[in-house]
């Protein structure tokens, strides 16, 4: 009897691991195809005046909460972006430090009577400011809404241009990021949102809020996150893009059509992962209304962000992400296997449910089962070891394929030493790091089940990002 149970469980976990990795490899193949096409056309388009001369005005919304140390540098960098027509709207979400005072001083802000329109819900606005130095800078001072979503909504209400980008106050944008991110909107007029690849800034050298030299972090946790981001953005997103099923436009940098944001009600202040929830909601509403739409993604590195370097910060981030994933899927459960949902309902949502949301639960059960079975002699230790080795080798294959995609698309880490370091991280992440992330995601899963609420989160900045 116990042998039969062991056999069944072994086959189930084998099928799960092979299934999840085949799904990822499938994404990988689609990503190779779409990146190849993108790189090929980008090489032509970069030289082509048809793109360099086209622009759609963009409003950059920068939600800020207690960003006193970096806000002035960040805004100055944003104001220097290479784009012909954009405005910057900073939303001070009732910061307790001197974020607002620093901005008033640095940009010569003065209050002026903006006729504010409340089109998406947010906490009341206390005052609006204009800059006497920069015509395209405005600051909204509002009551604390407790989350980035609420602050982003205040920015959406006040901005004027047809495209809106919500960027993190501590994010480092490439100078040409807006020109690149606007491309999906020019290529396909039905595009309602577009994201770009986010890279890790730790280890890079910055100057005046811009990236001066790309480098890899010395901190092991940050180094492993470089690989994770390559996986997430190069084949995670690019694999879904041609299928019309991009489910996440990163909160660090994403461009949206303003009318769409208003139609769907803006960001949900109750959502823990407000970026994923918003995109899932856009999919749901568009499909419910049977409207043609497209959510684009470009593999160009458009934004560099600071990765947590301490276990505490990383644990908090991953727990929050997983909690947000569960919430986003359940808030939009109409999409689950809905006949009108297309590839989103039949491919992306089942994938996110089974492999992403339930992944840590199944992986934990599997690990506990194999250890227990080996302890009680139901299977031999080498047999348990084979399954462990299989899970590690498949994980490593995915990381190595992400490094290949990086080399294939927009290689940033050009020194041989950096490539070796990335391969080292791809190998070492399997011993300890992966197991820790499963644990954190499991905690996030239970937080979602228990419906706990998250608030504004701050992480300790690495030295590189704070400098300059």
């Amino acid at each position: 009897m116990s042998t039969t149970i062991v056999q069944v469980v072994e086959w189930v976990f084998l099928a799960y691991f092979v299934g999840i990795n085949l799904a990822y490899l499938g994404q990988n193949l689609v990503a190779v195809y779409s990146i190849r096409r993108y790189v090929h056309s980008a090489a032509v388009d970069d030289d082509d005046p048809a793109y360099s001369s086209v622009h759609l005005p963009i409003s950059l919304v920068v939600p800020a909460y207690n960003e006193s140390t970096s806000i002035v540098t960040s805004i100055k960098a944003l104001l220097q972006l290479e784009y012909p027509d954009f405005e910057v709207v900073v939303v001070n979400d009732g910061s307790k430090d001197d974020t607002l005072e620093k901005m008033i001083q640095a940009f010569q802000l003065y209050p002026y009577p903006e006729a504010y329109r409340n089109q998406v819900p947010c906490k009341p606005v206390k005052a609006t400011y204009r800059s006497a130095r920069y015509r395209n800078l405005r600051v909204v001072d509002k009551e604390n809404g407790g989350c980035k979503a609420d602050a982003s909504n205040a920015g959406i209400n006040i901005c004027r241009y047809p495209l809106v980008t919500v960027v993190d106050a501590d994010g480092i944008l490439q100078r040409d990021s807006l020109t690149r991110a606007v491309r999906p909107f020019l290529d396909r007029p039905e595009t309602v949102a577009a994201g770009g690849a986010i890279r890790i800034a730790n280890g890079c050298r910055l100057r005046d809020g811009f990236l001066e030299e790309v480098g890899l972090p010395r901190n092991f946790l940050a180094l492993v996150q470089v690989i994770e981001y390559l996986r997430a953005f190069l084949f995670g997103r690019m694999g879904w893009e041609p299928l019309g099923a991009v489910m996440i436009v990163s909160g660090a940098f994403g461009v949206f059509r303003r009318t769409t944001l208003i139609e769907v009600g803006g960001y949900d202040p109750k959502a823990v992962g407000e970026d994923m929830e918003l995109v899932t909601r856009i999919h749901r509403k568009m499909r419910q209304q049977r409207r043609p739409y497209h959510i684009g993604f470009i593999p160009d590195p458009v934004c560099w962000t600071d990765a947590p370097e301490s276990l505490k910060d990383l644990a908090s981030q991953r727990t929050r992400w997983h909690h947000g994933l569960g919430q986003a899927l359940m808030l939009n459960k109409w999409l689950i296997l809905n006949p009108r949902g297309g590839t989103v309902s039949w491919l992306a949502i089942p994938f996110y449910l089974v492999f992403e949301l339930l992944g840590p639960v199944l992986e934990t059960i599997g690990a506990v089962f194999f250890v227990t079975a080996a302890l009680f002699g139901a299977i031999s230790w080498p047999e348990a070891g084979v399954f462990l080795l299989m899970s590690l080798s498949l994980g490593m294959l995915l990381s190595i394929s992400a490094i290949m995609l990086e080399e294939f698309s927009f290689p940033m880490y050009r020194k041989p030493r950096e490539l070796a370091k990335l391969y080292g991280a791809a190998l070492l992440e399997n011993f300890g790091y992966r197991q820790l992330t499963v644990w954190w995601r499991l905690k996030g899963f239970f937080r979602w089940i228990l419906r706990r609420r998250h608030k504004w989160e701050t992480i300790t900045r690495s030295a590189s990002v704070g400098s300059g």
């Binding site: 092979v18 002026y112 080795l389």
Partner: protein
């Protein structure tokens, strides 16, 4: 087959796991090698590019400046054509006049028209585009028919590049070919179309644009009106007045109001200020602002209390910008508003105008 003597429960599952492990390790190794090869190839390509650019930059610079014109240029090897074409086009984009003529002469000596014609007929988009662009930069009249065929290509970038090349080669005939296609090709970036027409010149584009708008349906005419500001202002206002008198489709009416210069009074203005479509009222407010006449203050004041924010905003901006109204007068208008929205929006417009000052 690996030795599975240790497999106690299910040798089938264990064997599959072993094979999956071996396969993934082998695939990892292959991918690693492929990544290294990609890196090596990229480096080779970059070195080649640097060598070619260094070699030809000097030749191109000599041609542009006109120095060393007696000496014939070196021959252009096949493997250097791609990089040379990019460099040549890049330089050609930046220069006009005699320097451009000398650059074209260099290209002819190197047999570039034939090479570009061959590339323009190729299937690969990248090569095709560079071929078409080169033909335009060469002002190669022999290629006019080839470019005319490419203007109807399904791919927007190919088609618009061909259109630009046509205008560059022969502005009058190019504009004649281009303008009737603009309304059909909504996939062409508007700013690019605008720039092409601008390059052709207002004297050339006015008449074909006027003809195209008059004969177009409402939707197409509204689209074409975006480009009408390139025509001389009397042509522009004549088109707008004609459309406002004869057509009633709201999008077209709004587009005509938007395009009107403000030098000429437009028909039906009182009716349009009270139009049910808010965007027509907004364009009417903007148009009145452009006219800048003191007798329109009453019309704008009414629009300050409009139910749509954009109408109020445009009316307020128009009022604040009226050259005949002093700041104190605008403040008085604000004070006499009974509608709180009207007072707020005028306050904002005054604030904005203050910041400009």
């Amino acid at each position: 087959m690996p030795d599975l003597g240790f497999a106690s429960a299910s040798s089938g599952a264990v064997a599959a796991a072993v094979w999956a492990t071996i396969a993934s390790l082998a695939a990892s190794l292959l991918l690693l090698l492929y990544t290294l090869e990609l890196r090596w190839r990229r480096r080779q390509r970059e070195r080649h590019r640097t060598r070619v650019v260094e070699r030809w930059r000097a030749v191109i610079a000599a041609a542009v400046t006109g120095s060393d014109s007696a000496r014939p240029p070196p021959s252009l090897p096949r493997r250097e054509r791609g990089e040379f074409l990019k460099l040549w086009n890049l330089t050609r984009n930046m220069i006009e006049g005699a320097a451009a003529d000398r650059l074209i002469a260099l290209a002819r000596q190197l047999g570039l028209p034939e090479i570009a014609r061959r590339q323009a007929a190729q299937k690969r988009r990248a090569k095709r585009l560079i071929g078409i662009r080169t033909l335009g930069h060469l002002r190669d009249s022999q290629s006019f028919a080839l470019l005319l065929a490419a203007i109807d290509d399904d791919h927007p970038l190919v088609a618009i590049t061909a259109a630009e090349a046509l205008v560059e080669t022969d502005p009058a005939h190019g504009a004649d070919a281009l303008i009737p296609r603009i309304a059909r090709r909504r996939d062409w970036p508007r700013t690019h179309v605008f720039r092409m027409l601008q390059k052709a010149g207002s004297a050339i584009v006015g008449e074909p644009l006027y003809r195209a708008i008059r004969t177009a349906g409402d939707e197409d005419a509204a689209y074409l009106l975006q480009f009408v500001e390139l025509a001389e202002f009397d042509v522009r206002d004549a088109i707008c007045a004609e459309l406002l008198s004869s057509r009633h489709e709201p999008e077209l009416v709004a587009a005509a109001l938007k395009a009107a210069s403000g030098y000429t009074r437009m028909p039906r203005l009182d009716e349009l200020v009270a139009h049910p479509a808010w965007y027509i009222r907004m364009q009417a407010a903007r148009f009145i602002g452009r006219m800048g006449r003191a007798e329109d203050v009453g019309r704008l004041e009414k629009l300050l209390a409009d139910r749509e924010w954009w109408v109020r905003y445009r009316a307020a901006r128009a009022l604040v910008r009226l050259p005949t109204l002093a700041r104190a007068e605008i403040e008085r208008i604000r004070e006499r508003q009974v509608d709180a929205f009207a007072r707020d929006i005028l306050g904002q417009a005054i604030g904005e105008a203050g910041s400009r000052a």
